[in-house]
């Protein structure tokens, strides 16, 4: 795949130098630098070959701003980095939001954080920083925002129509699970337009990362996705280990898998309860909390915390697991297996539930690719893409598990995918427990002070919500030069406006719930 793409790319883009990168070190296979005029051609090339746009990252190198477009493929492992240099004094780049819909938000984000104007973008207004900004926050130097730019950025106004009215779903609303605000343009009970407004939980983790050492940033990861902190932890430590070349002992790798999968189950369980509460059934919430409590107890025993875990360290684990953890996990597997039939009886077989979710929020494969959705939402649409299979980190490569997929791509399919993912997670935990070798849980040669070699890395892991991508640029200092978090909920939320359009208000809640959003992760 990589070879053929390279030759085709060379033919399509004359005069562009295509470099092959060491995938194990860099996380991408090919990299190429294009000029401003070539970017659209490159984007079209990848669009035609079924690539999706994983993320757009902007890096401020002082002499120039670099836009990094990361393309990846659902069918086979082939990642391409396309870069575009922009003048920092007058940063303008062409928009590719007409080709890849998911660029729409990424470009808005870069606009307010870096001041890069995307030529032809339909809506260059604030995405996160609605209170206004005086400086572009992620630039390395203080660049004041001109009054004209401020006006343009703050120009988001929902325009009221003759027969329509606006309803704010959020920011304080029971079914947005956090503080997401969606401005709905309604015609009676029908939604004409949905506009998510982000930023109520924005904490600028990416700027924080640039100002603290690699280890100091570690606890931040769990604060982004508070329901799946293990996976975020795992993503970050494996990324840094990959960057620095730190080996990890087998035992630590197995425990990492067990802890992450336990956390995945607890995250999916909470989703199940919250989703049914969205649909009006309040009892399942208490049932799933009963199960979740067991996981919390187990993980509390090894990590010391019950929500924002910070358990993994560069080169291993914070501490070793004990007999009680293994016994507790085995007991939990027994218990959880018997619970699935109960959920199936109470929820999956319920006529009202089926009628509320079947045919609602249908995502086609094509739309899933264009919007770069990931995780259970993508698999519900029928694309068997799982980072644990394609790019296994820790001990995932040695585990045998299925990647469940849906057929219709609706909310009911996503429900079934998540339930079966929990079953598979149990399977993985069981295998990892059986395999768990004796030995140290911390690499002996793990350096105290991390100074990764110069270069960049795009590293992905599968969190409960989908593809987490971490793009790190290192300048050989003990702090990351730039760290971009490509978070799954951000991309999954992007597809919501088109799913909600033309549906009833109640359906919008059902769709929003099926996407399983965690707002602090979107806002970062």
């Amino acid at each position: 795949m990589v070879e053929s793409i390279k030759t085709e790319l060379g033919a399509a883009l004359q005069g562009v130098e295509i470099a092959e990168a060491n995938y194990l070190e860099r996380g991408y296979h090919l990299s190429l630098e294009v000029a401003s005029g070539e970017l659209l051609n490159a984007a079209r090339f990848f669009d035609e070959r079924g690539f999706y746009l994983a993320a757009i990252v902007c890096v401020d190198y002082r002499e120039y701003l670099e836009l990094v477009y990361l393309f990846a493929n659902h069918a086979s492992l082939c990642k391409v980095k396309v870069t575009l240099k922009v003048d920092p004094a007058k940063p303008v780049a062409p928009t590719i939001s007409a080709i890849f819909d998911c660029a729409y938000w990424h470009e808005r984000e870069i606009r307010e954080f870096y001041g890069v104007l995307f030529d032809g973008h339909p809506n260059m207004t604030y995405l996160f920083l609605h209170d206004g900004i005086d400086f572009y926050p992620l630039r390395k130097e203080q660049i004041p925002v001109t009054d004209d730019d401020k006006r343009a950025l703050g120009s988001f106004r929902p325009g009221e129509g003759e027969d329509t009215f606006f309803v704010n779903l959020g920011p304080q609303h029971p079914s947005t699970h956090g503080v997401l605000r969606v401005v709905l343009k309604m015609d009676g009970e029908y939604i004409e337009e949905a506009q998510p407004v982000l930023g109520y939980l924005h904490r600028m983790h990416e700027k924080m990362a640039e100002n603290r050492s690699y280890l100091q940033f570690l606890p931040n990861t769990g604060r982004m996705d508070y329901l799946g902190p293990m996976a975020f932890n795992l993503g970050y430590v494996t990324a840094v280990e990959r960057l620095c070349g730190i080996p990890v002992p087998d035992r630590a790798n197995c425990v990492r898998v067990i802890a992450t999968e336990l956390n995945r189950i607890s995250s999916h369980l909470l989703w199940l309860g919250a989703y049914l509460a969205d649909l009006g059934a309040l009892t399942p919430f208490l049932f799933v909390f009963d199960d979740r409590e067991q996981i919390n107890d187990i993980l509390e025993g090894i990590t010391g915390s019950r929500l924002t875990y910070c358990y993994f360290r560069f080169g291993g684990l914070y501490n070793d697991v004990e007999e009680a953890f293994i016994a507790g996990t085995k007991a939990f597997i027994e218990r959880m297996r018997s619970r699935f039939s109960l959920y199936e009886k109470l929820v999956g077989g319920n006529v009202i539930f089926i009628n509320r979710t079947r045919g609602i929020g249908v995502i086609t494969k094509e739309r899933a690719r264009k919007q770069a959705v990931s995780g259970p939402v993508l698999r519900g649409a029928g694309i068997p893409m799982d980072m644990r299979k394609t790019e296994p980190c820790a001990a995932y490569g040695e585990m045998d598990f299925d990647v469940p997929v849906g057929t219709r791509g609706d909310a009911l399919d996503i429900y079934h995918v998540r339930i079966r993912e929990m079953e598979n997670a149990l399977k993985i935990i069981e295998q990892a427990l059986a395999r768990l070798p004796e030995g140290p849980v911390m690499a002996e040669k793990a350096p105290k002070k991390l100074k990764p070699p110069k270069g960049d890395l795009y590293h992905t892991v599968e969190t409960p919500r989908g593809e987490l991508g971490i793009y790190i640029v290192s300048d050989e200092s003990d702090k990351p030069y730039r760290m971009k978090w490509r978070v799954p909920s951000f991309s999954n939320l992007m597809i919501f406006p088109e799913l909600a359009k033309g549906n009833l208000l109640a359906d919008a809640v059902a769709i929003l719930g099926s996407l399983d959003l965690v707002i602090p992760e979107i806002d970062r």
């Binding site: 009215f165 029971p174 009970e189 059934a281 009202i352 009833l504 359906d507 809640v509």
Partner: protein, 323 residues
């Protein structure tokens, strides 16, 4: 004493005493139901519900009531004041009137009106007005959507409700609730009319805005629906009305289908309350088991299933009675 009674008139006095009794019962019923709902919900959700205040948490509703009474009564600035103030009071009128004609026992009835059921149905349609007033007067979009949903839902479900009661009225040959109960001396009407009972019960759950038909106050979509902007005692009045309504629809079901106050050994009133609260329990049970249906599905159930079925049932009953 005798003089006073003669002056006012025996009937009037009876009505006044009855109304006071009804008021006491309404409050008492709401207290029991709030406790029962929390307790039943607790046990269904694998917890124990209230237990701190009084034995088994029995005094909890009183503590809640005192809390609500002590709260500041907020009035948002932009509300339509007359409508906003009137709505919670008006929602209580139909509730009280309905109690007048319900026979709790052979002799325990405030007033036996020969068109008793019509009085109840006519007045219960009025509650839609107060919900609409609350929704419109609150000047809040969630409240308005909730109110609109409520009106559509109530209109849709009043028809099958009435159509389900008609066969019983035909069989008993009377609109008077007492006569209907007396007509069930031998066999309860639910034996003759199982379909009508089911239709009535589904419609009744919808009429009282309870899960799975709780769209007007769907908290995951509309925050709290038509009473979003109400707080303190005004909110408590809506709450009280809802619980009283649950009891009324159950009481009517008992009167029409389950033999009312009739039953062996125990006194009539005990039988009546037992049967009514059993149905109330079923309604609570439904709430803590099912998700909510969608608006179009809700209307489809009524217009496409319940109403045709009720008509067929009515025709068959009529035909059989003529034979």
């Amino acid at each position: 004493m005798e003089q006073i009674v003669n002056m006012i008139g025996r009937e009037t006095l009876k009505t006044i005493v009855g109304l006071i009794g009804v008021l006491v019962f309404v409050v008492f019923n709401a207290l029991i139901l709030t406790w029962a709902e929390r307790k039943v919900a607790g046990h269904m959700q694998r917890r124990i519900g209230p237990k701190e205040v009084g034995p088994y948490g029995l005094i909890q509703p009183i503590a809640d009531a005192i809390k609500l009474l002590g709260k500041e009564i907020l009035t948002p600035r932009e509300v339509d004041r007359p409508l906003y103030y009137l709505a919670p009071i008006l929602i209580f009128v139909p509730v009280l009137v309905s109690f007048i004609v319900i026979p709790f026992d052979a002799s325990l009835q405030v007033k036996d009106i020969n068109v008793g059921i019509l009085v109840i149905l006519a007045f219960s349609s009025l509650s839609v007005f107060s919900i609409l007033m609350a929704g419109w007067g609150s000047n809040n979009k969630y409240a308005l959507i909730g109110a609109i949903r409520s009106v559509a839902q109530n209109i849709a479900y009043e028809i099958p409700l009435l159509l389900a009661l008609l066969p019983v009225i035909m069989m008993a040959n009377s609109f008077s609730l007492k006569t209907i109960v007396e007509a069930q001396k031998g066999l309860w009407f639910v034996v003759y009319q199982p379909l009508a009972f089911c239709i009535y019960f589904i419609s009744a759950v919808a009429e009282t805005n309870r899960t799975p038909f709780d769209l007007p106050e769907a908290e995951s979509e509309l925050v709290a629906g038509y009473h979003t902007e109400y707080s303190g005692m005004r909110f408590a009045l809506f709450f009280l009305a809802e619980y009283t309504n649950i009891f009324i629809v159950s009481a009517i079901a008992v009167t029409f289908f389950l033999g009312g106050y009739q039953g062996p050994f125990l006194p009539g009133i005990i039988w009546f309350l037992l049967k009514s609260y059993l149905l109330v329990f079923v309604i609570i049970w439904l709430r803590w088991t099912y998700p909510r249906v969608r608006f179009d599905q809700l209307l489809n159930v009524s217009w496409k299933a319940l109403i045709p079925l009720a008509f067929i049932n009515l025709l068959i009953t009529g035909g059989l009675l003529k034979l």
